[in-house]
């Protein structure tokens, strides 16, 4: 079974049974219902809002449930300038998110500090938390965010979480 197609459908069994690997099924479910933690800090947040509104409609990718509680979210979208004062709040919210969790650095500021080369701005959120997908733009258009989200979905489809847990268990025995 290839990574592109997580399920195998056998027409002879008439759709009542789908054969798959546990990893593939888990990844399929995870990647298609990514609940974002909208960490909107500056103008990128406006594009993030546009992405969730009717014209761009992020719900087509299963990520429309913006959770304002970190305990219910899967992916943190850091949208905007991260000042040092705010950085610790971002880190704290990130720490409160349950595993598995992913992070999208949306826009130039969140990725690298952007045009704010100054004493007050953290030069990229990856100094504090691990980032899975960087999106360029100042601010990026909603299409760019959707593309970043699809990249993240692809990345999640390639994970082997169950396999790795099994391996760790076997090694511990």
């Amino acid at each position: 079974m290839s990574d592109q197609s997580p399920i195998a459908y056998d027409s002879k069994i008439e759709g009542n049974i789908i054969i798959t690997k546990l990893d593939a099924a888990v990844n399929w479910m995870r990647s298609n219902s990514l609940w974002p933690m909208p960490m909107g800090l500056a103008c990128c947040a406006i594009e993030l809002m546009a992405a969730s509104s009717s014209r761009f409609d992020i719900s087509r990718f299963g990520a429309e449930v913006m959770r304002f509680s970190p305990r219910q979210s899967d992916v943190m979208i850091v949208a905007g300038t991260v000042t040092y004062k705010m950085a610790l709040a971002v880190k704290r919210i990130w720490d409160q998110m349950p595993e598995p969790k992913w992070c999208i650095a949306m826009g130039a500021c969140a990725s690298s500090g952007g045009m704010y080369r100054s004493y007050a701005v953290l030069q990229g959120i990856d100094h504090l938390i691990p980032v899975d997908v960087y999106i360029s733009g100042c601010p990026p258009r909603p299409e760019a965010l959707l593309d970043g989200l699809m990249s993240l979905q692809k990345k999640i489809m390639g994970e082997h979480s169950v396999l790795e847990q099994k391996k760790a268990l076997l090694e511990s025995l």
Binding site: R117, S118, Y119
Partner: protein
């Protein structure tokens, strides 16, 4: 009452307190002696009707003495009159009396001045930093503080690092060139625009 009347009233009452009177485009500024700042403010609020303190700001005249200047923007809601009061603060003392008991809004403004310029306000009820965090060792709006910042760390609370300026801060000049010419990757103030290539990053 207009601003000129208010100035005249203050000059009549506090002749020795006012060092300088300045008018620029219809805006009146009075430079005050530090010792009489509170008396003048109290009189302006109670007798002249300046019931609203718009802003407290500070200026760093780096290299001059006295080094700092604190500016109070007063406004009268009833008369629609603006008045600006200035007072000088020397670097050694670096202290002013608070006006937060006269205008409660001064509380946060004075905290901002303290945080970014390092001027303390005597008898302020809650003089903590407001934008940077407690324990940050510098006052970033001072002229001798570099734009890219300095590294600092308060364990378990916050940290800061030097921002990579890559030859900046970048300066754009008016020219009819392309975007590459107008906004090069790096150019210092004063250097002429380069026509058709990027300047290497240092």
């Amino acid at each position: 009452m207009n601003a000129a009347d208010a100035t005249a009233a203050l000059k009549a009452g506090f002749a020795s307190a006012i060092l300088e009177e300045k008018e620029f485009r219809g805006e009146l500024s009075l430079t005050l002696r530090q010792e009489s700042l509170r008396e003048v403010c109290r009189h302006a609020r109670d007798e002249l009707g300046f019931d609203y303190l718009i802003d407290v700001s500070s200026v760093d005249h780096f290299g001059d003495e006295p080094r700092f200047e604190v500016v109070y923007e007063l406004y009268s809601m009833n008369d629609g009159v603006h008045l600006r009061l200035r007072t000088a603060v020397s670097e050694d003392a670096c202290e002013l009396p608070t006006v937060s008991d006269l205008w409660p809004t001064a509380n946060w403004h004075e905290r901002e001045v303290f945080d970014l310029m390092g001027i303390r306000f005597k008898d302020h009820p809650d003089l903590r930093r407001i934008l940077m965090w407690e324990g940050y060792p510098y006052h970033p709006l001072r002229k001798d503080f570099p734009l890219e910042g300095k590294p600092s760390e308060v364990a378990g609370l916050a940290f800061s690092d030097v921002a990579p300026l890559a030859g900046g801060p970048f300066v754009t000049v008016p020219t009819d060139g392309t975007t590459q010419v107008r906004e090069p990757r790096a150019r210092h103030a004063g250097t002429p625009p380069v026509t058709d290539k990027f300047i290497e990053e240092p």
